[in-house]
């Protein structure tokens, strides 16, 4: 650490960083705009000015930008020097010249970085008397709102969108004091990470458009720390609600997982919670009933005869365990279709055994050679794709380091690096959204992808099984061998064990890290929970073994062909279903129990990294909606801790779930942690139209959080942070004050407990089942699944914005037989679908990729052979 003198006070700063980073990390209130810990420094806004002195005798000093100056040993600066204070006030004055008086009506108000910095500089008087420049706003789609008059030309938006996220349809236009940030024409922002603009933009130019449907100020919202339910990566979020309506999702910083950013599905998918098709009342034989009666019916039905329970990979460990406890371990069935369950179990075995270690998302950014086998990351594990985009800068940065350019000097680094990137190799059946940063892509059928992986492993280690000679495989092997931090990524998208095994072989041979993607937010947790196979559940009903089938947060029509599900649900004497939204399965239920969503329940997920993380409810649901585990629990479980303890005893591998967050008895100086900022207003007036007596704040027996603004003002541990705020920092920039070093881990450690830390060891046998080469068939196509960030996830599809962005399902292939956009019939064993064609010339012959998850292409088992023909 270097010693830097700030107003004559010696402070420790990281000499690899700049002075702004050092000052903020030391808690100084130094204003800034264009710098961002994830984006580095460019020196545009000039807000972070300090006075630098040559030595202790220098009285004059000169003004420098702290973000552009290294925190070198012995540096002397002043933040309080009157000349530089006046300068910083002058910068705010310049920014406010054109700024409209929008605060009262601007969504950003109350969490606005511009407001905070204006107050911080003390500038408070408008001298400018001339006209302000104005712009016409653009419609950028359903997720992000555009209000250009508020722009302060800090360039953060285009730097994030283009440089960090790789988008190319947002840029700066014109110049001088009339720079416009937008698209060449109105239209939906194409990047799947556009939503981060609402947190990157320090003013109200880019704001959450979905929040406008039900706006509330940050200080008026009630928050809770949560975990995203829309994929298996487990990005940390904070959910904000008011008066029982979920208002929005914001990023909750986790240094190891999502850092500062989310994907659009995770940020905007939440509106399913407010959906019109939300189940809000128990329904018994088609008629609404009370929670008490519903519970009674559940108990009675289960008590008579044999009840089986089908769990779910999209609900919590606690919910699954409660069901398992209710029906008994022998009668508990996995809610994952057999083929997928097998894949997840295989991945789990590999993660447990090692020796390959699975990295955190942040560690992925630091890997310098990456091989992706079989995954279109942007569509199945979006935040991982964003991490891989940063990883391709690693090797080029080595050359930049030799030029002695500090890595935080963002444009200096990028200008020196130009377009150099990689190496990144992507091997998939179809185009992926990361292809633009790949060194080389390789398109093949799943079996050939597996053979490709086996060939790479063999090229790295002749002891690994061979498939065939393949020059591209040799190139990749060479790159992986020369890497400092190689990484292999694979997963379930190809629905192929061979691909997963091949990826494991490569990682082992290359001594590389290994990441797997998984389909749903608790696929790993559900796999660890175990249970009989889903097909066995169907069989049990067919055999007349089951009198009651309890389906937990699982639309079975997405797991199996509809005919099969129809007959199973018809055959079962009693069908009880718990879920959030009405769906084809709930329609067939005798009893429907409305399950609380992540916003109304507490629970634990295990991510594909093997990180156990807890989410907490943000609002108390209306009386008829309960967390699934509460519907299913035995009487003696009073609160969440009881569930976790019982689960830890019954399933020792899940004991770590108790450590994912402090227990319900945790206190800070005897006080609970408030879910609401201390300025929250109207809590006691919310129900005045019903009852004028002041309602008591609801109790929270399950956590250390309180349902009010009352509680400790101290910063809570990472797993319990409902919102980021600290004095002078109302905006999301307040995260700085929760980190020991800005941009680094949260004080006290980041949330979540990693389950898999295999011991490094030698002599682990390679997988040896090399599949034969793929043989295309003459009149048939091998249908493989293709995933869409907007559409393939069940719950987010019920969010209007996500729905609007969801394309119709289509089939992608390489053929001269069909024209682009032509409608064809895809006929396979599990169904016939009429879909438009997309031509992808690089796809292998005989392979067609089918959009899955979007109605009607649900519940089919792929890969499968099928026919594709013009409709009759």
């Amino acid at each position: 650490m270097a010693i830097v003198y700030v107003d004559n006070k010696p402070c420790e700063m990281n000499p690899e960083e700049n002075l702004l980073h050092g000052c903020l990390s030391n808690g100084f209130k130094l204003p800034y705009f264009c710098w961002h810990p994830a984006l580095g420094s460019v020196g545009a806004c000039r807000q972070c000015a300090v006075k630098q002195f040559k030595d202790a005798n220098d009285r004059l000093g000169k003004i420098v930008m702290s973000c552009m100056t290294p925190a070198a040993e012995g540096t002397r600066i002043s933040i309080a020097d009157p000349e530089v204070v006046a300068f910083r006030g002058g910068i705010i004055e310049g920014l406010m010249l054109n700024h409209p008086h929008d605060c009262p009506v601007c969504d950003e108000g109350g969490e606005c970085h511009l407001q905070d910095m204006t107050v911080m500089t003390g500038h408070d008087y408008r001298r400018y008397e001339f006209d302000k420049r104005t712009f016409r706003n653009q419609d950028l789609g359903p997720l992000v709102n555009h209000e250009m008059n508020r722009c302060i030309q800090c360039y953060r938006c285009v730097r994030y969108y283009r440089d960090y996220a790789g988008g190319n349809d947002l840029n700066a236009f014109a110049s001088r004091d009339q720079v416009f940030f937008g698209r060449s024409e109105d239209g939906v922002l194409e990047s799947e990470f556009s939503g981060n603009l609402v947190e990157i933009c320090p003013t109200g130019v880019f704001t959450d458009k979905t929040l406008k449907h039900h706006y509330a100020r940050k200080w008026d919202q009630q928050f809770a720390p949560s975990v995203c339910v829309h994929c298996a990566l487990g990005c940390n979020t904070d959910a904000g609600e008011r008066f029982g309506t979920l208002r929005r999702i914001v990023n909750r910083y986790n240094h190891e997982v999502n850092g500062y950013f989310l994907c659009d599905r995770g940020r905007f998918g939440y509106e399913f919670v407010n959906s019109k098709v939300r189940l809000r009342q128990p329904v018994l034989r088609g008629r609404p009933t009370s929670a008490a009666l519903a519970r009674k019916h559940l108990d009675q039905t289960v008590a008579e005869g044999r009840a089986i329970g089908i769990g779910s990979p999209r609900t919590s460990l606690e919910a699954n365990f409660a069901l398992r406890t209710l029906v008994g371990a022998d009668h508990f069935y996995s809610g994952i279709a057999d083929p997928e369950a097998k894949l997840v179990r295989l991945m789990l075995e590999i993660l447990r055994q090692g020796p390959m270690r699975t990295p955190t998302l942040r560690e992925i950014e630091e890997c310098d050679v990456v091989l992706i086998l079989g995954e279109d990351l942007t569509n199945v594990a979006p935040r991982m794709a964003l991490a891989v985009r940063q990883s391709v800068r690693q090797q080029p940065m080595e050359a930049v380091k030799k030029l002695k350019i500090p890595l935080w000097l963002d444009h200096g680094v990028r200008d020196a690096m130009q377009d150099a990137k990689g190496p990144l190799y992507i091997a998939t059946p179809y185009r992926t959204r990361l292809d633009d940063v790949a060194t080389a892509t390789f398109r093949a059928a799943p079996d050939d992808l597996a053979r490709f992986g086996f060939a790479i492993a063999h090229a790295l280690d002749s002891g690994a099984p061979k498939s065939q000679d393949w020059p591209p495989a040799d190139e990749i092997a060479r790159a992986l061998k020369a890497a400092k931090k190689p990484l292999v990524i694979s997963g379930t998208s190809c629905a192929s064990e061979a691909v997963i095994e091949a990826a494991a072989n490569v990682a082992m041979a290359a001594h590389a890290a290994l990441s797997f993607t998984a389909p749903e937010c608790n696929s790993i947790g559900a796999a660890l929970m175990g249970g009989n196979s889903l097909s066995a559940a169907f069989q049990a009903v067919r055999d007349g073994y089951a009198d009651t089938v309890i389906v937990l947060e699982n639309d079975l029509y997405r797991r199996a062909p509809s005919a099969e599900v129809d007959s199973m649900l018809k055959a079962a004497p009693h069908v009880i279903v718990l879920d959030h939204l009405s769906n084809p399965t709930t329609e067939k239920a005798e009893l429907v129990l409305p399950a609380g969503t992540f916003a109304e329940s507490d629970g634990t997920f295990i991510s594909s990294e093997g990180r156990v993380q807890r989410f907490f409810q943000v609002s108390v649901p209306q009386i008829e909606v309960m967390a699934s585990w509460r519907w299913l629990k035995p009487d003696h479980w009073q609160n969440l801790d009881d569930v976790l303890r019982a689960m830890g005893r019954a399933l020792p591998e899940l004991e770590a779930a108790c450590d994912a967050a402090p227990s319900s008895t945790f206190r800070i100086a005897g006080a609970k942690i408030p879910r609401s900022p201390h300025r929250e207003s109207g809590r006691t007036a919310a129900l005045v139209n019903i009852n004028i007596s002041e309602p008591k704040a609801p109790d929270d027996p399950d956590s250390a959080l309180s349902f009010s603004m009352e509680g400790t003002p101290e910063q809570p541990p990472a797993a319990l942070i409902p919102f980021f705020w600290s004095p002078s920092w109302n905006s999301i920039q307040a995260v700085n004050t929760y980190q020991k070093e800005v941009g680094g881990p949260l004080r006290g450690g980041d949330a979540g407990v990693r389950l898999f830390e295999p011991a490094p060891r030698n002599g682990q046998p390679y997988f040896s089942a090399v599949p034969p080469a793929f043989s295309p068939r003459r009149c048939e196509w091998l249908l493989v699944p293709m995933y869409h960030i907007f559409g393939s996830d069940e719950l987010s599809l019920a969010a209007p914005g996500i729905r609007e962005l969801t394309a119709k399902p289509h089939v992608a292939l390489n053929s001269d037989e069909f024209a682009e956009g032509a409608e064809v019939e895809v006929i396979c064993a599990d169904g016939t679908f009429r879909l438009p064609v997309t031509i992808q010339r690089e796809m292998p012959a005989g392979v067609a990729a089918l959009s899955v998850g979007i109605s009607p292409v649900v519940g089919i088992s792929l890969p499968a052979w099928g026919k594709i023909a013009r409709p009759k």
Binding site: V42, G43, A44, C45, R46, Q47, A49, K62, I63, V64, M68, F87, G90, I91, G94, L95, L97, N98, R127, Y128, F130, I152, Q153, Y155, A172, A174, S175, R176, D177, Q178, V179, A399, V400, L403, K404, I405, L409, H411, G412, D415, A416, M417, Q418
Partner: protein, 429 residues
């Protein structure tokens, strides 16, 4: 070249305004410098040293020691290649018209200078970045470049040596900030011409991330003559420490606005009175900007200052481009300040706050003063803004260049500003 001439830059230029063609240039001794360098086996560092010893300072306005800049270029086999030489022909500083003359009238001089300079820094590729409005220069340079290629003075194995150089002409899309060294690099890369932060310096990571030297047209045009006649001769041409001759210009209400090649260090008075003929009848001298808009005013008491890089700062100003803009007593200083501030505001690239926000504000204040709507606090606001534009406060030198004429016009002509405010009108209108 013919004799030990006193006017090496302009002596070959024709009275009819046509360009010196290749034959005439060679007849007058052209392309001897590059022949000398390549055929006598001079090494690049030797050429660099000669230029350094000649005290050739950058004629684009900054006045940096050219030979010193060249010596910073990394050399050797490990250096990322190619190395680039970029000739800055983006002459857009208001009041400046010297590079136009050189490019239109003696394009081969520039080309030969570029080849020698490129050799000195071991460059593989050179660009001439020419402002788009200089259409005649574009035509003549293009023709001259083609002629040079035909003779194998450019391309592979120049003069049978192992030195090869590609020279390309690029016409700018039109923006003053392209004249800024790093703004130019971004423009040449096909981008918005925002300047870059230094460090890293272009010699380390410049055009396309490679080692790059950017030099002004006039600077490069001096190079063949230094090689031909030597550094000592070049120093001897000057009246002061900064070597060589200089193209000095005068515009404004003088008898003979024009451009003259004179010894470096000629005084402002001599240029104004002997060459420009002094003020026109009926107007009196009030002040002048010595080197284009981005320089501070000097007034009568400073006119005997030698116009070079070292002496002008003693008068509180800078040599800049060496082309003077004269303010007469029948021209309103506030209007002149407004016109120049408007120029800078319009040309701001929009990257850093004090420039894009402050210049427009200052322009509006000055306009309102001219229109008779000036307010008592205006001069304080203008002074505060000008201070905001100090070097180091802004990202590049555009806004500091705007501060110079504004601050000094308020200093030397303050009473005129105050009259505008007091009398609610422009007293010159």
């Amino acid at each position: 070249m013919t004799g030990n001439s006193e006017k090496p830059l302009t002596e070959r230029m024709r009275g009819d305004g046509s360009a010196v063609d290749l034959e005439a240039y060679e007849l007058a001794g052209g392309y001897q410098a590059i022949r000398k360098v390549l055929r006598t086996g001079m090494i690049p560092m030797a050429v660099t040293e000669e230029v350094k010893t000649a005290n050739l300072r950058g004629r684009g306005g900054a006045g940096f020691q050219t030979g010193l800049k060249w010596s910073f270029v990394p050399r050797g086999r490990d250096v990322p290649n190619p190395t680039y030489l970029v000739v800055n022909g983006d002459e857009m500083e208001p009041g400046t018209f010297k590079d136009r003359l050189l490019m239109e009238r003696d394009p081969h001089q520039l080309i030969e200078g570029a080849i020698v300079a490129a050799f000195a820094i071991e460059a593989d590729i050179a660009y001439i970045f020419l402002r788009g409005e200089y259409t005649l220069a574009a035509e003549r340079l293009a023709r001259a470049i083609a002629e040079a290629y035909e003779r194998h003075y450019l391309g592979k194995d120049i003069f049978g040596s192992s030195y090869s150089l590609e020279l390309y002409l690029h016409l700018s899309g039109g923006r003053y900030i392209c004249g800024d060294e790093t703004g130019l690099l971004n423009a040449l890369e096909g981008k918005r011409a925002n300047p870059r932060a230094k460090p890293p310096f272009p010699v380390v990571a410049g055009l396309f991330g490679k080692p790059t030297v950017v030099n002004n047209v006039e600077t490069i045009s001096c190079v063949p003559h230094i090689i031909n006649h030597g550094a000592e001769w070049f120093n001897g041409l000057s009246k002061t420490k900064d070597g060589g001759t200089k193209l000095y210009g005068v515009s404004g209400r003088v008898k003979h606005p024009g451009l003259w090649e004179l010894p470096m260090g000629t005084t402002a008075r001599e240029i104004l009175e002997e060459h420009a003929g002094g003020m026109r009848d009926g107007v009196k001298f009030r002040g002048l900007l010595p080197g284009g808009s981005s320089t501070p005013f000097i007034v009568e008491e400073h006119l005997d200052t030698p116009m070079d890089y070292t002496e002008m700062p003693k008068a509180g100003s800078r040599l800049g481009t060496g082309t003077m803009i004269v303010l007469d007593n029948k021209t309103c200083p506030v209007g002149m300040a407004w016109n120049m501030t408007k120029f800078f505001a319009r040309e701001s690239c929009g990257f850093c706050t004090p420039c894009w926000s402050g210049l427009g504000w200052a322009e509006r204040i000055l306009k309102s003063m001219e229109d008779g709507r000036g307010q008592p606090g205006d001069l304080d606001k203008l002074a505060f803004q000008a201070k905001m534009w100090s070097p180091g406060n802004t990202f590049c030198a555009l806004a500091p260049g705007a501060a110079d004429p504004l601050e000094t016009s308020m200093k030397y002509f303050r009473e005129d500003f105050e009259r505008h405010i007091r009398e609610h009108r422009c007293p010159w209108s």
